[in-house]
């Protein structure tokens, strides 16, 4: 029987209430989850994550490695190398860095590598506005790398969730041997508010074969146990299509089909463990259901409250998991809704996903580098009710 699974870790930071920046909370979440390898490259608005990790790894001094790489390609590549060597690895960047990393994200999907990638989104395309928030990367995170792969994407809406969801990202990455993105945005990353550091956190440790146990590293189970380099497994790791032992099978239709379908199955057979949404005021009939995520969901919640004060039956469905898309949860929530509003800091990327379930859903889209405010969402609610 392979070893690994859930354990309880003591928080390296003293438990209690802190006043912290989102980026710093993300770094603390990584540390609490057991992250022991961080590689990064400077970029606004994600650099604070790297600064904080760099400082804290030195303070903690317990075999944690920090390195500033030559570019984002090197950052993610070295994280994948470190993960294969047994480390819990993370990197953080913004949209321009994600664009560079996507080649190697595909490699992480193909070779089933647990790795956490934080995207503190800023306004684009291209260099865009480095200090301004946006939600323009949510499709790129899922579909940016070539080929047909699955990833997990989580969207934090608070400093607390920058901490909590970073831990969750590590757990899901280890559980499903898949890259997990934290789709933050500049507003959540740079915001300061209070957060509660718990005394203990639950973490999922990588499932590995026992010493001497020979198990296929790329098959034989939905999520095969993952040995590390140097443990005597003589691993064959390749980004080419491969069989369960890692041997290249570049002209076998069966090998190609079985890999791609397992990558999908290992995520979609476990939606209960992966997909999380938060429902606010969603009981009974609704005039308007607002579907939102990230910072935008904060304004949406304020607008929903305000609408209810005015007698409008409004509710909020907050997507904490963006990918796999919370289809079932959305289908459930729209049952008693007459209208659906999807505010986003992009031109309507998740709106399309919502429209697959509720075709009449409308978007409120803002792409001027500023956050969407509660009055703006209130106005939109008023219009479509």
């Amino acid at each position: 029987m392979p070893q690994g699974g859930w354990i309880t870790r003591k928080s390296p930071l003293a438990p209690g209430r802190y006043f912290m920046q989102g980026d710093e909370a993300c770094a603390e979440g990584a540390i609490a989850a057991g992250c022991n390898y961080y590689a990064g490259y400077p970029i606004t608005p994600a650099s604070e994550i790297m600064h904080h990790i760099c400082k804290r790894f030195l303070e903690l001094a317990e075999g944690r490695v920090f390195i500033q790489m030559e570019d984002e390609i090197g950052s993610i590549a070295s994280c994948i190398g470190a993960s294969w060597a047994g480390a819990k690895a993370m990197t953080a960047t913004s949209g321009p860095g994600i664009s560079l990393m996507l080649e190697n994200i595909g490699y992480a999907i193909m070779t089933e590598v647990p790795v956490v990638v934080v995207d503190v989104q800023r306004a684009g395309p291209s260099t865009g506005q480095a200090t301004r928030p946006a939600q323009g990367d949510v499709m790129q995170l899922h579909w940016g790398t070539h080929g047909d792969g699955e990833v997990i994407v989580l969207a934090p809406w608070s400093v607390q969730e920058m901490f909590d969801l970073t831990i969750r990202a590590f757990n899901l990455a280890e559980m499903f041997r898949v890259p997990v993105f934290l789709a933050a945005d500049e507003a959540v990353g740079h915001m300061r508010e209070s957060l509660e550091i718990p005394a203990e956190v639950r973490t999922y440790e990588r499932v590995k074969p026992l010493p001497g146990e020979r198990l296929p590293p790329f098959g034989g189970a939905e999520v095969p146990p993952m040995p590390a380099f140097g443990e005597g497994h003589r691993l064959l790791v390749t980004g080419s299509t491969h069989d369960e032992w890692g041997y290249r099978r570049t002209i076998s239709s069966e090998a190609q089909a079985s890999l791609v379908s397992r990558f999908k199955a290992k995520i979609f057979n476990h939606l209960d463990e992966i997909v999380r949404v938060e429902k606010r005021f969603c009981e009974g009939e609704l005039d308007v259901l607002v579907v939102a995520y990230g910072f935008t969901a904060r304004s949406a919640l304020a607008a929903v409250r305000e609408a209810r004060n005015r007698g409008i039956k409004a509710g909020l469905l907050r997507l904490q998991t963006l990918w796999p898309f919370p289809e079932r949860e959305l289908a459930e929530a729209v049952k008693y809704a007459r209208a659906v509003l999807v505010p986003e800091m992009n031109q309507g990327q998740m709106l399309r996903e919502v429209q697959r379930i509720f075709p009449q859903a409308v978007g409120y889209n803002k792409t001027n580098g500023e956050v969407i405010t509660p009055p703006e969402i209130s106005g939109a609610i008023e219009q479509i009710r």
Partner: protein
């Protein structure tokens, strides 16, 4: 297959079979490809040093050179995207410093698409052995010009002769801060094995450029003859550093210097 059942003298052909996943043979290399010679030289160096193969990690990229270690070596192998092996190797080495990490790449892999990783790993002097199998051409993709193709050489993308100057990879890597740098060709097999042994035991960034024959894509287009003529080409073209020191610039024209460019005293 077991590494413990070793027979034959250290470094012998018989002895190095133990390091190979023989079920993956024959190799994908064309007949007469220099990469097979390099593969043998590397395994001989490892065998003579009696390194623990199970604690070795071989990282390679894309191209014919990527196949030198993967899937043939019965150690941990990581076959990465094009150009990235050094960056992957950096993460693996830092995460587990007890691994002996060897990167094998081609001139396209390490000097073109992966050039940035090469110079920065050299600058950091991170402990790893980087072997560049330099055949001066993109072999696998059909014979295009690389950053090490000599001026005037014919390739699919330089039908009128390469107008550009090639990189001197040893100078580049030495300039970037590597602490062991050597160049030999697949013809100079004994000094090559000695250099590989030094590189494998060097406590820093070690770089060995190995001039390797590609009769299929480079030799044919540049009328260098078959595999054996290409080996003789290296013999004629290469000049040991020590000899070169006593020669005039005119005499050195068109020669490739071989030897140790940077080595600990």
């Amino acid at each position: 297959m077991s590494l413990t059942k070793k027979t034959g003298r250290r470094g012998s052909t018989h002895s190095i079979r133990a390091y190979i996943r023989t079920e993956t043979f024959p190799t994908a290399f064309c007949p007469g490809c220099g990469h097979g010679i390099l593969m043998g030289a590397l395994l001989r160096a490892i065998d003579e040093l009696e390194l623990d193969f199970e604690k070795m990690l071989f990282v390679s990229g894309i191209g014919c050179s990527g196949w030198i270690s993967s899937p043939y070596f019965a150690a941990d192998t990581l076959h990465t995207p094009h150009g990235r092996p050094i960056a992957y190797a950096t993460g693996a080495k830092l995460a587990n410093p007890s691994l002996k990490v060897v990167v094998i790449g081609g001139d396209g892999d390490l000097a073109s698409i992966g050039g940035n990783h090469l110079i920065h790993a050299a600058r950091r002097n991170i402990e790893m052995t980087v072997i560049c199998a330099n055949n001066m051409i993109y072999g696998m993709t059909g014979g295009q010009v690389t950053p090490t193709t000599p001026t005037g050489a014919f390739t699919m993308t330089t039908p009128q002769g390469n107008p550009d100057r090639p990189f001197d990879l040893c100078k580049l890597v030495a300039g970037a801060g590597a602490t062991y740098v050597a160049r030999y060709s697949v013809y100079h097999i004994r000094p090559l094995i000695r250099a590989l042994k030094k590189a494998l035991t060097h406590p820093g960034f070690a770089f060995v450029e190995v001039l390797s024959s590609c009769p299929t894509q480079y030799g044919r287009r540049n009328r260098l003859g078959g595999p054996s003529q290409m080996l003789l080409y290296w013999k004629e073209k290469c000049l040991p550093l020590e000899k070169a020191r006593r020669m005039s610039p005119e005499e050195l024209e068109g020669k490739i210097l071989i030897g140790e460019f940077v080595a600990p005293d």
